[in-house]
Symmetry: C2
Amino acid sequence: MTRISIPEGSPFGLSNLPYGVFSTPGTAPRVGVRVADSVVDLAAALGDDVFARPSLNAFMAQGHGRWVEVRERLLGLLAGDVPEPAVHPAGAVRTHLPVEVGDYVDFYASEHHASNVGRLFRPDSAPLMPNWKHLPVGYHGRAGTVVVSGTDIVRPSGQRKAPSEAAPSYGPSRRLDIEAEVGFIVGTGSPLGSPVSVDDFAERVFGVVLVNDWSARDIQAWEYVPLGPFLGKSFATSISPWVVPLLALEDARVATPPQDPEPLPYLREKNPWALDLDMVVEWNGQVVSRPPYRDMYWSPAQMLAHMTVNGASTRTGDLFASGTVSGPAKDQRGAFLELTWGGKEPVEVNGETRTFLEDGDEVTVSATAPGPSGTRIGFGEVRGRVLPAV
Amino acid sequence: MTRISIPEGSPFGLSNLPYGVFSTPGTAPRVGVRVADSVVDLAAALGDDVFARPSLNAFMAQGHGRWVEVRERLLGLLAGDVPEPAVHPAGAVRTHLPVEVGDYVDFYASEHHASNVGRLFRPDSAPLMPNWKHLPVGYHGRAGTVVVSGTDIVRPSGQRKAPSEAAPSYGPSRRLDIEAEVGFIVGTGSPLGSPVSVDDFAERVFGVVLVNDWSARDIQAWEYVPLGPFLGKSFATSISPWVVPLLALEDARVATPPQDPEPLPYLREKNPWALDLDMVVEWNGQVVSRPPYRDMYWSPAQMLAHMTVNGASTRTGDLFASGTVSGPAKDQRGAFLELTWGGKEPVEVNGETRTFLEDGDEVTVSATAPGPSGTRIGFGEVRGRVLPAV
């Protein structure tokens, strides 16, 4: 038996307890919980086979009551000694995609981001479309290319056409970008024909991850009319390996920004809440941006209610993300398109000049949120390195 | 033992042999093959447990060589007597969704359809966007709401705003429509970073289904800028229950229409081919349209090559559809939006006037294609009835 010691100020203290999927040279991928610098094998520690699987889906599908119960059992377990074979050093395990993703939806919930992109992509029109303040604009992404943090990102090739060129050409993207986002994972699905009420979010959503929605801006700009982004996004979307339970984020709830005009009734929450996440974007190890999630115009509950208002079903493992998190200040922008203003205002990264991503560049998005008694809840990080086009 | 008799001219003759998933009061959902008016239980007839599953995915994942082998075994089996317990009358079984859908992508491959919709949605611009003749425009749809033919379609509610209205309102769609399409099911997936060559289509794609991509035009028109259709489509997409193997469609191959400008090299097929499908759209039992699939601008192989040119992976069960199939003539249009020109030119259906779908309406899309020796390959039908909004 062993006692897991938790240093003061650990982002993975007892108030967090995020779930993930890990393997060691001796064990197949299975569910673990991150505690300080350790990973606890839940099938071994709790003797429950629902955790001896390569994704969180079976556990999540057991529902909200079960999530509460397991969290309480974990707190009891970690207060004492844990069987030694169940404990692995976090640095010695490999993390895997934590969920089998059903559908992946990407929203566009930051007013600052949507306005900036509008100015850059459509300089001759109003930056926000007429629908933007009435509904959380979103679209479906490619679920099959959601990958776990640490997966290398091969520079995508495709059709690009600059406004100055007469015809498109094929080749590697010249404007490879990131989007720092927050993602929500549906724990218990909802049947066809049953919209999820804006007040039922916490019953349905299991937890939160960080998302880097890699974006090839030149491919996207050429392809996206009229049906939206497709190959400019579908080559890879990275998520952080540790799913922070919504149950750990009670102290991170803050009021939503004012919404004007008032949204339609199905988007009105009894107790509107946002999440007070402080995000950090590092480019080759240098901090280039600190996007504030609390300022997002549309709340997580509004996104889920909107996504299902037409009767669309949800499934365990569905992932929906906020869209790029950008604050009002330049150093709060969560995409390099905005940070460098379409490449016209380069930034300095470790003494080198950057506009978009170069081969070999590495980007890390991390975040923390307030926990109980002044602690911080860590989301870990979502990280990826750019490899040359093949 | 019993001999399955196949009437002359049956659309489900020995040259077809489509696969589906069925159940009877006594058996759980499992794989069957449709032969004339019978369904043959493949686990029972071939003694192979890969067919005793509720989807075709495990069988499809075994690959092209195996698809050929099973087809040959079936031809041998059906030439003689089949064990009686393996044979069910088609009218006595329930059909289920034949595949577990990975990602669902919807293209926009008919020039007639794209031009018509462009004129209707954007009357002040050129009907085709500048990218349309350079790449097969497409977007991701909601895989979790793909349903099998026969599933009732509840009229979706959501935000709609007519151009004459100052603000959007919430309510049931007033412009519920269909899109008659042809869908392709990926049998063997391809890894991240490995585009599928335009010449490798038949190695990867297992078969073909009919698709009705139900569309709420008022919801779509309000929401779709700038990220594309979302809730106007995601409430339901119906597919036909019998997957016609690509192996059955050798005689249905025809040349593709000329493409001008010539597409980029990754979209050039050595032997370009389209499929000669004759589609029929019935509204409450009355034929209102006969869309010709052979006229589609972009070929199935071009759609798959484009979808993966950025390195996106594919998975067994991925579904990609052609987009609405519309020919040049009015009675060849595969969406009621086009057929009634945005509701301005109503059609008569069984003596009643129709623009968009009314509650209780039923739509059936069926199709056949040329088979060997003058036979026809039947695709069966995709059917759905509209129920009132809840």
